[in-house]
């Protein structure tokens, strides 16, 4: 055990100290933070103080156009020609000309600018005018906004899962998201770090150090030490990514004055706003009543979301994630190690990579196309039982609720599967690492399984 520990340490330390590891670990959260912050940042940066001169011949908007944080209105009087002259002498953003119109037929409103008026300015002015015209129409029709709010219907379906375990609240989106994210992480982890195992073995082979090492330790110890060491590297990287992403997002947004850790409410608002294709400023233009009314709605939805999360068997999901994460990695990791041992250089790995890649890719694709739509169907069932696809497919299924026996069977088979692949890999490995300059095919590999070494 002491020797495996030494090998794990070496595999871990040499990789963690590599420049590429450090750069990847630091850069990824920064990129992530940039992508998260950038859109908001761009909106804020483009939002310089704008002053719009208003010539209102209709008199409908007198004193009604309120100044916003970065949008000021300056009323003008006189003819349009005069106004244009006055506007030309200032460095104001635009001149808004409202001819004599009625609220029933608000046409002919024009914006004059020195340059092309930006789309954003145009939208904001349109919104301000629209709102005011709507208000006036409400007044004219004797309705008010409050009444309208009461009339508006907002239906949200609560989906309840009537299963043996009793009623469960069930939000399909949250449920699938939890599983899919877990499955994606497992998929990438297996690939990224499985290939690292393979490269590590090939490196030892081409460096010809392997004979020195296995005159000190058993080939199996060397292989397992490498697999475990690289798993630790991967876990470290993921952990650092999570921590650093959080730090980076906080830091970047603090630097640019964006509320970085928005309360769930604000987050939801932002999400909703974005979903409706409205700009953030739009929110600020809401009247206090509106905002209050919206908040109620938000609060309800937030409660929904939180409830869905609470109703998800989070501990179960987390437990399954760790299990399938490690199980899947070990299952495939040893096979990657065996490939590395069988070949002399990386270009020869292609033919052996195929059978390993295919089940992974298929389970990934099927997760989206079939399993998500029908998490209890036959395809989902079998793919979540077979060890080669279960780490990904089962993870997608777990949040929807999986009978205990299926989970138990799947886990037991995964353990057996990884013992089996490790056995195969160890046999290929011990022969392969000392074999040079021989083109290996599957027939040759299968012979190695039964060599007495």
């Amino acid at each position: 055990m002491h020797k495996i520990w030494l090998i794990i340490q070496r595999e871990y330390l040499t990789r963690v100290r590599k420049k590429s590891f450090i750069i990847m670990t630091l850069l990824t959260p920064l990129l992530l933070a940039t992508f998260m912050i950038l859109p908001g940042l761009l909106i804020t940066m483009s939002g310089e103080e704008e002053t719009v001169m208003v010539l209102d011949e209709s008199g409908l908007f007198e004193g009604k156009l309120e100044d916003k944080k970065d949008l000021r209105f300056v009323p003008l009087s006189g003819s349009l020609e005069q106004a244009k002259t006055v506007y030309q002498e200032t460095d104001n953003t635009a001149l808004l000309y409202i001819p004599k119109i009625s609220i029933d037929d608000p046409k002919g409103i024009t914006v004059y600018g020195k340059k092309n008026t930006s789309l954003q300015t145009q939208i904001r002015l349109e919104e301000a005018l629209e709102k005011e015209i709507e208000n006036q129409r409400f007044l004219a029709s004797g309705l008010n906004r409050e009444t309208l709010k009461k009339v508006e219907a907002n239906i949200k379906l609560n989906t309840i899962n009537l299963s043996d375990e009793g009623e469960k609240d069930n939000n399909a989106i949250i449920t699938s998201a939890a599983g899919v994210v877990a499955a994606i992480i497992i998929y990438f982890f297996i690939f990224l770090y499985g290939v690292q195992i393979m490269r590590g073995v090939i490196e030892e082979k081409t460096n010809r150090i392997v004979e020195v090492i296995i005159s000190s330790v058993k080939p199996f110890q060397l292989m397992m030490g490498k697999i475990i060491g690289i798993a630790a590297v991967g876990l470290t990287q993921f952990l650092l990514w999570i921590i650093l992403s959080f730090v980076a997002v906080t830091a970047v947004s603090a630097a640019f004055g964006i509320d970085a850790a928005p309360s769930p409410m604000e987050q939801y608002q932002a999400g909703r706003v974005a979903a409706e294709g409205e700009s953030i400023e739009n929110l600020e233009q809401e009247t206090p009543e509106e905002a209050a009314a919206n908040s109620d709605e938000f609060a309800n939805t937030i409660q929904d979301v939180t409830e869905s999360f609470a109703n998800l068997p989070l501990l179960l999901i987390l437990g399954c994630f760790l299990f399938y994460f490690l199980g899947g990695y070990l299952l495939y990791g040893s096979l990657f190690g065996a490939i590395g041992a069988a070949v002399d250089n990386e270009t020869d790995t292609q033919q052996f990579m195929m059978p390993i890649t295919i089940p992974l890719v298929i389970s990934f694709i099927m997760s989206y196309s079939v399993v998500l739509k029908n998490p209890d169907g036959a395809v989902a069932f079998w793919m979540s039982i077979i060890p080669f696809t279960s780490p990904i497919v089962m993870m997608v299924r777990v949040p929807f609720g999986v009978p205990a026996w299926e989970l138990a069977l799947s886990m037991a088979l995964l353990v057996l599967g990884f013992i089996f692949t490790t056995w195969i890999a160890a046999r290929i490995y011990r022969v392969g690492i000392l074999m040079y300059g021989k083109k290996i095919n599957y027939k040759e590999l299968s012979k190695w399984l039964f060599y007495r070494v």
Binding site: N207, E211, V212
Partner: protein
């Protein structure tokens, strides 16, 4: 007392036999030459001794005990295919390999210090292996092989890749290790390169042991009672006790290879010569291991 006893060891691969019923033993504290042409089975035997692979038949005893995993820490193995982690620093690499052999970190560090001073590679300690010259890498690898002070040191083609200066340096180190009580196995197909160093040898050809024993005895067994004489004068041997195998004369200096017959002794030849010519040199012609090997192989083929 033998440190290693190889008892009827056989090893077969899918389509050839690497070792066929090989037996010999290696005395403790000697330098042992494991000799034979390429593909004779030397490396297979070494891999069985170092427990990289197992024998199909037969047993190996290390210090009288059947070979077991624990013995690994008492062996140091320098494979023919040298290699180190390219992107690892010299110091770290030595430490790692020594720890894999069961050395504690403090012991290993202290010993590394001693070795790098003796082989003058102190300034390379923090360099990556890939930045070192080939000869330098060989030195590092040699240190890694002997750092845990193994009782049995196995060197496969030890001098390939060394320039003459470093080869001599390593030779001296090997002799020093032997004097400190270690047993050294040289495995090589270049027999002349180790002849002068070896105390004992075993010859292997086509997976079979051809011959083994102390070099002295083997040579005695194979010597032909032939002497080379160089001197002034005109040499003419007429005695039936001596047979001239070869004779050259040049500007009054002669050189002749003379074989003793009928149980005569070297001194008889000397006495016979002294009366006739002026002798400058009188040397016994001892067959080289290479000659013996070729003769032996021919014999076994004809047999």
């Amino acid at each position: 007392m033998s440190i290693l006893k190889i008892d009827s060891v056989s090893k077969r691969y899918a389509n050839h036999t690497a070792l066929d019923n090989v037996s010999f033993s290696i005395p403790a504290g000697c330098i042992f030459g494991l000799l034979g042409p390429n593909g004779a089975g030397k490396t297979s035997l070494i891999r069985i001794i170092t427990q990289i692979t197992g024998a199909d038949e037969g047993e190996i005893y290390f210090r009288g005990e059947r070979l077991k995993p624990d013995h690994i820490k008492d062996m140091g193995y320098l494979p023919e295919e040298r290699g180190l982690y390219k992107k690892m620093k010299v110091g770290e690499q030595l430490l790692y390999l020594a720890q894999l052999k069961g050395l504690s970190k403090t012991d290993a560090t202290a010993r590394i210090k001693g070795w790098i001073d003796r082989l003058e590679i102190r300034e390379w300690l923090d360099k990556n292996i890939e930045d070192l010259s080939k000869g330098m890498q060989q030195k590092v690898q040699f240190i890694a092989t002997v750092l845990h002070e193994p009782a049995l040191i196995i060197l496969d083609e030890p001098f390939s890749g060394f320039d003459p200066i470093n080869a001599n340096l390593i030779k001296d180190e090997i002799l020093r290790l032997r004097d400190n009580g270690a047993t050294i196995i040289f495995s090589t197909h270049r027999m002349e390169s180790v002849e002068e160093l070896c105390d004992n040898i075993a010859l292997i050809n086509r997976s079979k042991k051809v011959l083994d024993g102390p070099v002295r005895e083997i040579k005695d067994a194979y010597k032909t009672d032939t002497f080379q004489v160089i001197g002034n004068g005109h040499l003419l041997i007429t005695s039936p006790d001596f047979e001239v195998l070869e004779q050259h004369e040049n500007h009054g200096v002669f050189r002749a290879n003379v074989k003793l017959l009928n149980g005569t002794k070297p001194n008889d030849l000397l006495r016979y010569l002294i009366e006739r010519v002026e002798i400058h040199s009188f040397v016994e012609l001892v067959p080289s291991i290479n000659d013996i090997f070729i003769r032996k192989v021919k014999e076994t083929h004809h047999a």
